[in-house]
Amino acid sequence: MTGSRLSRGGRIDRSKSVRFSFDGKAYGGHQGDTLASALLANGITLFGRSFKYHRPRGVFAAGSDEPNALVTVMSGDVREPNMRATELEIYDGLVALSQNRFPSLEHDFMAANQLAGPLFSAGFYYKTFMGPAIGPFKNTAFWMFCEKFIRRAAGLGKAGTAPDPDRYERMNAFCDVLVVGSGPAGLIAAEAAATTGARVIIAEERPIAGGSLLASGELIDGRNPAVWAREKAAGLADLPNVRFLTRTSVWGYYDGNVLTAVERVSDFKPNRTKGQPRQRHWIIRAGKTILATGAFERPIVFPGNDCPGVMLADAVRRYATEYGVAAGNNVTLFTNNDSAYDAARALSLAGVNIAAIVDVRADVSGACRDIASVAGAELLLGHAVTGTHAGKALSSITVQHFNAGTGRVSGAPREIRTDCLGVSGGWSPAIHLASQAGGKPEWDEDLQAFLPPEPNQNWVTTGSAAGYMDTISVLSDAATKGSAKSRLVLPQVEAPMLDASPAPVFEIEPSVKSQKAFVDFQHDVTADDIRLAYREGFHSVEHLKRYTTLGMATDQGKTSNVPGLAIMADVRGISIPEAGTTRFRPPFTPVSLGVLAGERYGDLRPHRLTPMHDWHLANGAKTYEAGLWHRPMIYGSHGETVEQAYIREARAVRQSVGIVDVSTLGKIDIQGPDAAELLDRVYTNMFSTLPVGKARYGLMLREDGIAFDDGTTWRLGETQFLMTTTTANAGTVMQHLEYYLDCIWPDLRVHLTSVTDVWAGSAVSGPNARAVLEACVTGTKVDNMTLPFMGIVHGKIEGIPIMICRLSFSGELAYEVYCGAGFGTRVWEALLAAGKPFDIMPYGLEALGTLRIEKGHVTGAEIDGRTTAHDLHLDWMLSKKKPYIGSAMINREGLKDENRLTLVGLISMDNQSITGGSHIVTDPVPREPADSFGHVTAACYSPALGKYIALALVKHGTSMIGNRAFATDLLRDKHCAVEIVSHHMFDPEGSRMHG
């Protein structure tokens, strides 16, 4: 094939030349060219190497169905692979590279893969990557070497590693009618819809409207159809209720008439306007969708059909009429239907020489014969192409007699010199979006193609996507589908009388095969691969697809689907509709990850900060993230280690007094006449008996009896409670309560409000905690009588209203002081000032953890979704007087098994730290496999005990108390001898917090 620019024709702007490079070589084209049309005009035939066999491949199609001509576009260091040259608009400075060749496109070492035929046949992934199961190469180093080679050889373009500097946008759009496609059907349907006043969005994947009209030789209202389309589109775009998106590919159809599209905003521009995104992603919610997506021409499968120069007939036509490019000097056409004659007519009008038309049919209409004779083409009826001769370009084809009834090839081969063969095997409606939306496509005998399924959402198909193949019926169908109320006067169409129904011929299979016949070019699947898959037992289309990878490449089998099914149906001896088809999946065309992400990259999590956060940072806090919250870990100073810091902080709490920010605890305001009843149902223990002004520690279970969350709940009034939850479960507990109120107990008169962010909380703990409060709280006494353990009082600090509850997580005399979030820092600072005489120490989560481990209090590390109240020694909280969530399931055998993991304490015997997550084993030999009978949930150094300690869940833990074991951490290679003790490791009587 030696393509060239025609002296006239096409919608390119010949006054504007564009310079670009392909594989490092400079070329020229015109504004309006695609990379494919410009390279063809420059006489380029070879566009890439094929996936498995590294065969030379040329351009095959002219649009989004292109399987071969995939290139990598470079912009600086950023590489975008697998771009279709047929859609890529050229611009000054475009740098494109061919793919899948080594070391160069012209000389590819891997082409030797062709000689290794059987290695790459159907199922080659499954067979080869598994390695031979038997034989001399099983598990050999030689095999591993081969695998590396295969992995390198097989593959399309390489992904880049440089960061993408481009900007992408996301948009949401709503409309009454979305029209996908703006060919004759889309334009008329959109016009019909728009004239009723509906809000219309039209999405066109190409740079301009017109679709098939752009390459048509027909006349509309006596005019060039491309001009008619341009004016119609401009008129529509001017309407206030119409949004016309060009270069916009609708790629997905989802439930609820939600469609996704990518708009190429500035890909095609050498210099982007400042702030302009490269691409824009659209999520379009449409009342009704009109799919005017057109049809894809499909090839006929024959030996040698993949060499550069063999193209779709319509593509040859489009390059001539749209881009003014003759794909060859001496074109031949091979067809089973009339549409190739329409192409021949357009080609000869454009000035392209046609040597011959090879038609599998024994006879054709007078209109076809007339076209052939006007074009000066030899008409070979009852013939088929049975071979090609080509190196890097086609030089000739072999034709033989062919009986379309029997599928037999006969007679002597005749060679016809040609440098471009346009093939037409009929047309397949582009039903991809309809298929995504669901439903089984329906086979049409007449068109020999699948038509769209019955709509299961509010969509219609129109035009050739609905199976209307001539312009007159396309237009009248589109007007009706656009709006039933449409009163559009349709234009007059002058067109030759041609019939798009093909003869049912999908493959030419001569008895003697000397060349491979390809079905899926992009994945190098041959007709024989399909027959092999059948012989190996892969009969259903779904199995066939996965075993051969037919239709699984980036083009999703736009050209290969029906021929592949036809060959499978043939070997199975059934009809194509009986063989069925697979469902198309999004995306219709590849979508870049950048446009899906839009501006959402980097750290997307919200950051939750407590009201005192700035104070913490200003006072040396090292913070870490606990869920979304940033919390002080330690307040480090004087170059001490984390361990030194938390030991200092925890010791201060036990010796005098400390203060910790507890604002992150989940807080739910529960109000209503049935508030107490709700709490009785969700907590394992009783809350209705709780007096006003008192708090109680509560435990919640899941419905299956597993522990869920714990916390204290305060009775602020007869019908008002303040529930606190663990920081981590604040949202989940809220959702849990809402679920039961909405779905199970709507009769309970209770209202829930999340007030986590409303209150700032400071916990003051230690023997001097009361003295600190006495020094700063006004309006209430805080002595043991007024504020006993679990009591609540209201008062003021520096005139700010506060609420104090006396409760203890540390095991010391302790108070939680709450105030409005906006006053958090002032109250915190006032407490610090009042504590100054006692050397009050702010402490972080590490010290908080240390204090609770010493006391054996549980947190999320122990309430881990697997433990029961019994496992955690919380049985005493299980009321026997009432049912509660989980009560019915808690006594199941498995939950009472004495082999369950139960909570214990561990004390390090050798003064080594115990690592969290260590396994508990009896075997003292490190690195030897041993049965684990438990694990460490939390560990620290205990300043109160002067030892490294831990909490652990250990099999029948209670009876293990007093035994020795090893806490072994194989990842860090740490093995620590421990004694198993009660989880109450410090002050088991609780005398300190009651003091």
Binding site: N257, N456, R681, E738, Y739, D742, P746, P883
Partner: protein
């Protein structure tokens, strides 16, 4: 998928949290019928066709909804407030 919240109108599915099968019936709180509890907690039928499920409008009004949805086509045939549905079931003789 779009769910038509009775309070908030048609909203995208990302605003909602799936909350499970809405056809199961919780035994009476005091029930000791272990089989009934097991069925409630663990058994889920995998029905093609119409199915009822709970969705929480977490990014909106925070109401639980009962959504009747076709498991094959995903088409939503009705959306009601879970409170109304539960109340009507309770009135309808659920002890």
């Amino acid at each position: 998928m779009i769910i038509k919240c009775p309070y908030c109108g048609p909203r995208d599915v990302i605003e909602f949290i799936y909350q499970g099968d809405a056809t199961r019936k919780r035994p009476e709180p005091a029930s000791t019928d272990q089989a009934a509890w097991n069925a409630y907690v663990y058994d889920r039928t995998n029905t093609g066709g119409s199915h009822r499920e709970f969705w929480l409008h977490g990014g909106g009004c925070r109401q639980h909804l009962v959504v009747t949805r076709d498991m094959s086509s995903h088409a939503i045939s009705s959306v009601a407030l879970a409170r109304d549905v539960a109340a009507s079931i309770n009135d309808g003789g659920r002890a």
